[in-house]
């Protein structure tokens, strides 16, 4: 107990098995083969990545698959410094909104391959407009971490 008044610890632990559905299953299978798949809408012609089964704008089914570029331009990013319960990894780590070449939305992933310990230096190295490229994990499990991170080019 950490409080000065009486409390009860109520820790909830629950098991889950989330169905990926066909589109995300294929997307993650693609990552295993070092491919990033998007799907294209026949109506609005936009390419969405990660691939999905329906267009978020037009509500149409998407079945046109596209192996999209693994390089892109950074639109925005953040360097996470603070820890919290259940965090995906220990800070510091960087996240970016990446516009992959040829697609019509932003892809989210870690930004890495650079020293993240000094915020000032990080701010000099990565900026909006920085070109980044996917770096693959050697060990692949058909999940989003099959891409290790996106690395700034140059």
């Amino acid at each position: 107990m950490t409080k000065e008044y009486e409390t009860i610890i109520n820790t909830i632990t629950l098991p889950y098995r989330w169905a990926l559905g066909p589109a995300w299953t294929r997307f993650f299978d693609g990552l295993k083969e070092e491919k990033i798949y998007g799907t294209r809408c026949r109506k609005c012609k936009k390419i969405f990545v990660p691939a999905r089964s329906f267009c978020p704008d037009c509500f149409e089914d998407l079945d046109e698959w596209s192996d999209v570029s693994q390089e892109g331009t950074l639109r925005s990013w953040t360097l996470v410094k603070k820890s919290h319960y259940g965090q995906v990894r220990r800070p510091p780590y960087a996240l970016g909104l990446i516009h992959l070449d040829g697609t019509d939305c932003d892809f989210i992933h870690f930004i890495g391959g650079i020293d993240l310990s000094d915020l000032k230096k990080v701010r000099e190295k990565i900026k909006a407009g920085t070109r980044v490229k996917a770096v693959w994990n050697k060990e692949k499990n058909a999940n989003i971490h099959d891409i290790s991170y996106f690395k700034p080019l140059k």
Binding site: K3, Y5, T11, T13, P15, W18, P22, T25, D29, N141
Partner: protein, 159 residues
Amino acid sequence: MADEKPKEKPREMRAEVTVPYEMAVGSNWHRFFEGLKEEKILGTKCRKCNRIFVPPRSFCPRCFDDNEEWVEVGQEGRIETWCYSNLMFPGQTLKPPFVPVQVVLDGTDMGFQHRIAGFDLSDFEKVRALVKFGGRVRAVWNKEKKGTIFDIDYFELVT
């Protein structure tokens, strides 16, 4: 993350999620649990409808007024309803078989949730022969008190 089905068929992703909470007992229930430590069952009384609440309420949900009067209620009562739990569900504290019961403690006006034990529960038919609606039960105290609902270990049948 594990593959449940062969490639190309949609997969599932498995995970276990844990979220911790630390919840205030509140002054009202704090007093109830302190009472249990002294082997007393305390309730509160609504001055409007005169009903006595166990677990105690700081207010009456019907009259919507403060319950300020505390009373010690009987440690015996009658069985309002019960069931026989035969199957273990995840998230369950007690292991089946066990007998959840609503006891109307003497001097109170509503069912209080606890369990009946103190005899062999393994055979349902035997349990059914002993546990009756309206039957009398009595609180059996746990020697070790922790200020939880299990300070009352269980209710035993009064024969």
